[in-house]
Amino acid sequence: MSEAGPLPGPAAPGGASTPVPDPSAPTAATAPPAAPEGRSASNALVAAGRGLLVPVLSVVTAFLLGAIVIILSDQKFVAQLGSDPLAALRAGLDSVSRAYSALFTGAIGSPTGYLDAFASGDTNRILTAFRPISETLLAATPLIFTGLAVALGFQSGLFNIGAEGQLYAGAVLATLVGFSLTGLPGIVHLALAIGAGFLGGALWGFIPGILKARTGAHEVIVTIMLNYIAYRLVDFLLKTPLFQRPGRSDSISKVIQPSAELPSIVEGLRVDWGFILALGVAVAVSWLLFRSTKGFEFRAVGLNPSAARYAGISIGAATVVAMMISGGLAGLAGTVVILGVTQSLTFGISPGYGFDGIALALMASSKPKGIILAALLFGALRAGATPMQSATGIPTDLVVVIQALVIMFVAAPALVRGIYRIRVSRTTGTEIFSKGWGS
């Protein structure tokens, strides 16, 4: 990663050209004792906030731009623009507020709904009130896995853009184990299916890993192509007698056995133990990356391959293993969808979770804890999108637009800083992950 190290933070317009002096150093000697304390405390706060500042502003800005998209595509707005611009604007803003409030209540529920439900004491009503949260957690589950998959790649200097394909590869094996084995006790069958899902993703990750290690083929090209190969393979498999559900002519697999299903956490809500599994795996990945020898090797290879090689780390082995684990994590994303939600394999199991994983890894700077938070945010967006469409007619694709904008702003912090005129300290800079296709 020779390109990444020496790059200074990109010059934020009007901000970074004058270096920000460290305020605590000069004041400590000359100013009265109270001042530096107050300032250093606020500095610490600023430092803590700075990590969150860009992601938060990115999300806010993406929502603002999303609002503009809603207004401009509003028929009332367009119709009234010529005659009565103010009324047009009011109509547009009305659409925005209705859409966003539907999105939010669809994602986290409405406060009055919770209060009423608890006041009534009716279990069913309480469950109904918590349904939006349940849907958000459910939608966040595969996102945590793909986010971890891409993050582990980034930490190891690999850009795994193939999480989508690995997700399907994992889903294929998990489905196969899910429906073909019978008579097993629930926990064994479930464990086998989850293991198969990991294995499927790992196999799909092995291909770019070994090709990169042996021939130097760039993993971005190989994983893009493998995504499409995975789609076609699933397309083919779903038409074979082994997979296709008897009596169906469309692309849908057999239903998995009940013993392979992930049970709900709370009876009556859809969120299942897959979410708990995701949290556990996030902890495991965190340990692997930052506490284990293998993870140290991954990160060493990611940060500086030459130094890693000099230290005796086998770059090829680290690349292959990292890519396999990354693929396996993405495979688990497909697995939890199959075992927890759909119970059978179709083409619709992933609305682009693999690509969302890139956004999550970027937002969280490839840290597992941050990925959970970011996945909850994206899960909330996905969960709220459907109620939003049914309540207001604003298509769910709005969420895709907002997500794309979030990735853009998070990937270009200088852009956000430029918009909000935020000064930047010298230490923060853009990270560059891939090393180009050349040479």
Binding site: S73, Q75, F159, M225, M408, F433, S434, G438
Partner: protein
């Protein structure tokens, strides 16, 4: 793959080359076995395969159908492939590997066609015509990629640019009832997306893969959103006219070549002109030399006074315009109305064609034809009920690309500075 010293570097390279020779030789032998053993089974000895060479209608020159005895032809091809495989294994073809590979691929494809057409008649010219039509959007995508990547900017946003071009082409073409305006608007919007890519990649030094992915996701989201919210209630915005077929006088009467290349819509001719133009500009003009310098060694280019960043901006925007116009093919050239995600990965096949074509316009054009052919065969096979799962033919472009980037058959090389941001100083 540890390289401890200079001495050990050469040995693995030589070994890799020998291993590659062996792999290719074995692949040729396997192909020979497939043709000789698998394809010949189940065909009556007396059957013959007949290929129609005349386009529908009244061609100026009427060619007789090409009729070959099925079994004999298959054994002949099998023998040829086995011979080439044996030579490959024993001593290799040296620098002529590419020609031999092309011969093998073409004869193998012909063998498959003979097998499909055994005992029946098949319009070869129809297949070739469809091949060229299906290659057109791939060519636009590939040319967009060539323009961007020769200047050192990776463009994986081709897919998004095609999709947005298709959308805007349909909407503007319908709203103003003018297909030329639609075509222009598609080019403009492609250029604007490319400008966004360039600003992100060049000014804000965002990783180029991420910038491209953002544009792809954004394009899918915004076109699907606007389709549901605007086009569905107002169908009149999604009914553009289409560019008509324009047979070029004289040239379209040439047997075989004429119906393939000189009897299409504007998009076909634009694609062919573009390939020639970019090839000439890239390799025979000062502009091209500068672009290639920027893509290979930006610092050296900067030293001799070439404005690296401006060159990159210009090329990326040009590439976006090309992709946007190519996108309009889907609505103004092919189907006549926009559907969400209608490009269905053609942009990535374009990317694959560019890589398979070794980042050259002509190579990418030929690769596009190969991929268009695979696409056509897949459609034909599912009609003819051939027992090859058509999904595997659709996988072909992606598999070939992986094989090529991994250097398993021959190796292609990207421009050296492709994907690397440039900072002065």
């Amino acid at each position: 793959m540890t390289t401890a010293g200079a001495g050990t570097v050469i040995a693995p390279v030589a070994r890799a080359a020998t291993r590659r020779q062996v792999i290719i030789g074995i692949v040729y032998l396997v192909l020979a076995a497939i043709v000789g053993l698998v394809l010949t089974s189940g065909i009556a000895g007396s059957a013959s395969s007949s290929f129609g060479l005349n386009p529908p209608g009244k061609p100026a020159v009427v060619l007789p159908s090409l009729v070959v005895p099925s079994i004999a032809t298959l054994y002949l091809i099998s023998g040829l492939l086995a011979f080439l495989g044996a030579v490959q294994l024993s001593r290799g073809f040296g620098s002529r590997w590419a020609i031999v590979l092309a011969v093998v691929v073409i004869t193998f494809i012909f063998a498959v066609l003979v097998w499909v057409a055994a005992g029946k008649s098949m319009s070869l010219i129809g297949i070739l015509q469809t091949t060229v039509q299906r290659a057109v959007p791939i060519v636009f995508g590939a040319m967009s990629g060539v323009l961007c990547e020769r200047a050192g900017v990776v463009n994986i946003a081709i897919e998004g640019m095609l999709l947005t071009g298709a959308f805007v082409g349909a909407v503007v073409g319908s709203a103003f009832d003018n297909i030329w305006l639609g075509l222009g608007a598609a080019g403009v919007v492609g250029g604007l997306l490319a400008l966004l890519l360039a600003i992100l990649a060049i000014r804000y030094v965002v990783d180029q893969i991420i910038a491209g992915t953002v544009i792809n996701i954004f394009a899918v989201g915004i076109t699907s959103f606007l389709y549901t919210r605007v086009l569905s209630p107002q169908q009149s915005l999604n009914q553009p006219d289409r560019f008509p077929l324009m047979a070029i006088p004289v040239l379209s009467d040439i047997p075989i070549i004429g119906p393939m290349f000189f009897n299409g819509s504007l998009f076909l001719y634009l694609a062919i002109i573009l390939v020639g133009l970019i090839h000439y500009a890239l390799f025979y003009t000062r502009w091209g030399l500068r672009v290639r310098a920027v893509g290979e060694h930006p610092r050296a280019a900067d030293t001799v006074g070439i404005d690296v960043l401006r060159t990159r901006y210009r090329n990326v925007i040009l590439g976006g315009i090309v992709a946007g116009i190519g996108g309009a093919y889907f609505t103004l050239g092919s189907t006549g109305s926009f559907e969400p995600e209608m490009t269905a990965g053609r942009g990535f096949i374009g990317l694959a064609a560019m890589i398979f074509g070794a980042w050259t316009p002509i190579g990418a054009f030929l690769a596009s034809l190969v991929f268009g052919f695979a696409d056509t065969l897949q459609a034909r096979f599912s009609i003819l009920n051939v027992q090859i799962p058509s999904e595997f033919l659709l996988m072909l472009p992606y598999v070939i690309t992986i094989i090529v980037v991994a250097g398993l058959v021959g190796r292609v090389r990207a421009p050296a500075a492709d994907g690397r941001p440039y900072k002065k100083g």
